[in-house]
Structure formats: C-alpha cells, structure tokens
C-alpha cells in the first residue's frame, strides 16, 4: 500500500517545544490515530501537514509529492480542529460551501456536493441554522462536513470528539469510521482516549516529546 502522508526526519521548534527527526507514514485509505500526552507535538504534526507550520528541516510528502513549499490552500487537505472553528457569521450551509466557493466550483455542483455531504453526516436539518446555537457534537459534524465537501485527499482530525459530551463521543467515532470506509479517504486522527483508538484506528502511533515512540496495528475495526 502506498503512502498518502509522509513525514521524513521533521525537525521543528516553537517556543520551548522541540521536535526532532520525526518520521511518520500514513498509508492510502487507512485510518491512522496519533496519540500522546498533552504537549507531545500531535497538533504541531497536523499543522505541519496542513502547511500552517513549516518544518525547520525534513520533508513533508502528500501522495508521494514533496509539499514543503506548497501553501495550505493548494494541498487539498481536509482539517477539523478540536474546537471546529466554524465561521460564526455564516450559516451551517455557508460554512460547508466555503471550500467549494473559494475553489470556484460551479453552483450546481456546489449544491449537489453540499447536500450529499450533509446527508452523509445527518445534518440536513441544521443547514439553514446559524452556527452559534449548535451543540458541540453538531458543530463537529458541520466542521467535518465542511472539511469533506471539497473531496480532500487526506482528512486530518485534531481531537475531533474531545469537546463533545461523553455519550456522543462513541457515536461520532463510529460515524467517523463509517464515513472513512464509505469514502475510502485517508484519515489522520489525533486522539487522547484509548476508547477512541479502539473504535476507529487501523494503526496507532504514539508520540512523546516530539519523537515517535512506536506504531501499533489495531485489529478488530471494521
């Protein structure tokens, strides 16, 4: 299986945090979970892959292509941060449309893709609502729909269920797994809880103090 995301000997420092010679491969179509303690560098890895951060040294590959000098808007990556970061002055529908609008996709395709992704995430009833009144779980579903609408090659999830109530976490994790399987998309998911790993992961990498400690294969996920 070829690698969809590849980090080779990445070094990066910000403030007192240092990451050194970190390497990571996420295979095409797999669900990879990255775990580790707070401050271990998980979010930084996600931001390096998106292009928000640029590594001090090392190579970032997407689909085999070196993307170190490619800006975030040309990487075609779907990103869902912990807090969702929905644009508060837009409705749910307009949030989901955003990635398609800036790509100047024609209106009929925009409508079709937005409807399709809303159906996939069971949020059709929320579409015309402002994002300010949504619950934590609803916000994350909308953020996920927004990240999937433009059909990215990789989906990066940064603790997507940590801001929602405990009862909804398992449900959203199962749904994430179902969606990943349905779309065949490569997912890199940052998680804290073992339960999340058990529910979604094909493989799990543990990172500590900016270094990859080990990568385990998780069996039993559908």
């Amino acid at each position: 299986m070829s690698n969809e995301v590849g980090l080779e000997n990445i070094s990066f420092s910000i403030g007192s945090f240092k990451m050194q010679d970190l390497s990571l491969d996420v295979r095409k179509g797999e669900y990879f979970v990255l775990t580790g303690h707070n401050g271990s560098g998980k979010t930084i890895i996600i931001k390096i892959i998106t292009g928000i951060y640029r590594p001090d040294s090392g190579v970032v590959r997407l689909g085999g292509e070196i993307v170190n000098d490619i800006p975030p808007w040309k990487r075609n990556i779907g990103y869902v941060p912990q807090e969702g970061l929905l644009f508060f002055n837009r409705s749910v529908r307009d949030n989901i449309r955003f990635g398609l609008e800036v790509r100047k996709v024609d209106e009929s395709s925009v409508v079709e893709r937005v409807d399709r992704v809303a159906e996939l995430l069971n949020i059709t009833h929320l579409m015309d609502r402002p994002v300010t009144g949504l619950s934590g779980g609803e916000r994350q579903r909308v953020a996920l729909a927004r990240a999937l609408a433009f059909e990215p090659r990789v989906l990066l999830l940064d603790e997507p269920v940590s801001a929602i109530d405990e009862n909804s976490r398992d449900e959203l994790c199962r749904e994430l797994r179902r969606i990943q399987r349905a779309l065949g998309i490569t997912v890199l998911h940052v998680a804290h809880a073992q339960r999340e790993i058990d529910l979604v992961a094909d493989r799990c990498g543990r990172i500590e103090a900016g270094r990859m400690q080990r990568v385990d294969v998780i069996s039993g996920n559908p």
Partner: protein, 271 residues
C-alpha cells in the same frame, strides 16, 4: 432593570452604579437641548438664507466623508499588519499611530504647517499648482482630517483584528482559500463591525475638528470654510444666533450619522 430575565438581587447596588450614568446623560442632554432652546425661527431663516452656510455644510460633509473613506482604506491594512505581525520597530509604529490621538489638535496643525515649509513640503504643496494644493486649500482640510481620523480608525480596527483568533484564517487557508480570499471572506467579514465602528468614530471625531484646520486651511468663505469654522466666524462677528443654528445642524447631523452607522453594525465597538 439591568439584568433582563434574571431576578434582581441587591437592587440598591445597581441603582448606585446607575447614578453616575444618569448624571452624565443629563449633562449631555441638557447641554444639547440648550442649543435647540436658544434657537428662534428668525435665526433659522437668517442662517438658511445665507449661501455661505450651505457652502460650509456641503464642504464639511464632503471633506469629512472623503477623509473617513481614506482613513478606513489606510486603517484596514495598517491595523491588520500591526495586529498580526511583530516586526522590528513594531512598538514605535504602534506608538506613532496613536500620536494624533494624544497630540493637542493645534500642535498637530502647527506640525502640518511646518512640514509644508520644508523643501519636500513646499514641493508637494506648490510643485504642481502654483497657488498650492494643501495650505489654505480644501485639500488641506482633508489632509488634516485624514491624519486625525486615521489614527482613531487604526486603533479601533486593529482592536477588531486583535480580538479575532488567527486560527480562523489558518482554517480558511486549509479549506482552499488563498491569502486574498482569506482576508476578504474571513478576516474582513469577521472584522466588519469594528471596521464600521472605526469609520463612525473617525467620522465623528473629524466632523467637529477645528483648530488644526483653521491653521492649515484658514477660514475663507465659500472656499475653506467648514461648519466648525463657521461657528467661530459667526461668533467672532457677533451673529451668535446663526452660530447656534449651525451648531444645532452639527448636532443633528452627528446624531443621524451615529444612529445610521450603529444600526449598520458598529454597535459593539462604539464610544
């Protein structure tokens, strides 16, 4: 009274806090109403029949609006850069931007006049047009208003950018928006209330600007006379009743502009 649907515990506490507000509101309302009560129908007729008054009104409106527009055009990029980037000399730049806010207006006017006495200033003022572009000219009014108005606009608009988490801009870029699209669709649209507030405060501040304009542009009737200078001229020639009419017009125009712009969205940031 204050807490909406919440039960009001410790009513005396809120009433005590409301007293200074009530006193201040009474003071403002009293002073403003005093102007209107002092006006007679005859003074209104006298003022309205004077073409110079109407020239001053239109010049005030045109220069204030143009200066506000220029101020906002400069304040948006300036506020953004000051908010998002830390560069060598950032503190100095941030302080210099505030200088027109804290400088006495007359000192600022003197600085402008002094500048137009330097070689560069003389060339800028008289290099193209012999009679001058700025000194004792309407463009001088706009320049002075812009210098003052822009400082206020930068301060307010920058605070809008400061309060916006840059993570939203990063988010927009990962969704496929380039820097320009991100700035237009996310940054500006999120900062719209503060931009509107910057425009309102800038407009309100420069509409009544008097001292530095008097120094730089003078008070030539029908040429560089604006509403504040009209009040000064009318008082100096003893036509207090006409000055009061112009003052009342300024109050009404200011209130109308504030109400309209507040309704358009600058509510949260207004003075």
């Amino acid at each position: 009274m204050i807490c909406g649907k919440k039960p009001l515990y410790g009513k005396t506490f809120d009433i005590l806090l409301a007293v200074p507000l009530a006193i201040y509101l009474l003071l403002i309302a009293g002073l403003t109403l005093a102007v209107f009560f002092a006006i007679t129908p005859a003074s209104i007729r006298q003022a309205f029949a004077d073409n110079a008054i109407w020239d001053a009104v239109s010049l005030s409106m045109i220069t204030t609006t143009l200066s506000t527009f220029l101020s906002v055009c400069v304040a948006i990029p300036a506020g953004y850069i000051l908010s998002r980037h830390r560069f060598y000399g950032h503190s100095l730049a941030d302080t210099l931007v505030d200088l027109p806010i804290v400088l006495p207006p007359l000192v600022m006017g003197l600085c402008v006049l002094l500048f137009f006495n330097t070689k560069i200033g003389l060339w800028l003022d008289r290099g193209i047009v012999e009679e001058g572009l700025f000194v004792y000219q309407p463009l001088g009014i706009i320049l002075v208003q812009f210098i003052v108005g822009c400082a206020f606009a930068v301060r307010v608009i920058k605070s809008g950018f400061d309060s916006m988490d840059p993570a939203y801009e990063d988010m927009a870029m990962t969704l496929g928006a380039n820097r320009w699209q991100t700035f237009y669709k996310v940054t500006l649209s999120s900062a719209a209330p503060s931009i509107m507030a910057g425009a309102v405060i800038s407009w309100a501040r420069i509409f009544g600007l008097f001292g530095p304009i008097l120094l730089v542009a003078g008070t030539m009737r029908g040429r560089t006379e604006i509403m504040p200078t009209t009040i000064f001229l009318e008082v100096s020639i003893g036509r207090i009743e006409v000055a009061l009419v112009v003052a009342a017009m300024m109050i009404l125009i200011s209130m109308a502009i504030l109400i309209v712009l507040k309704r358009l969205g600058g509510r949260g940031y207004l003075l």
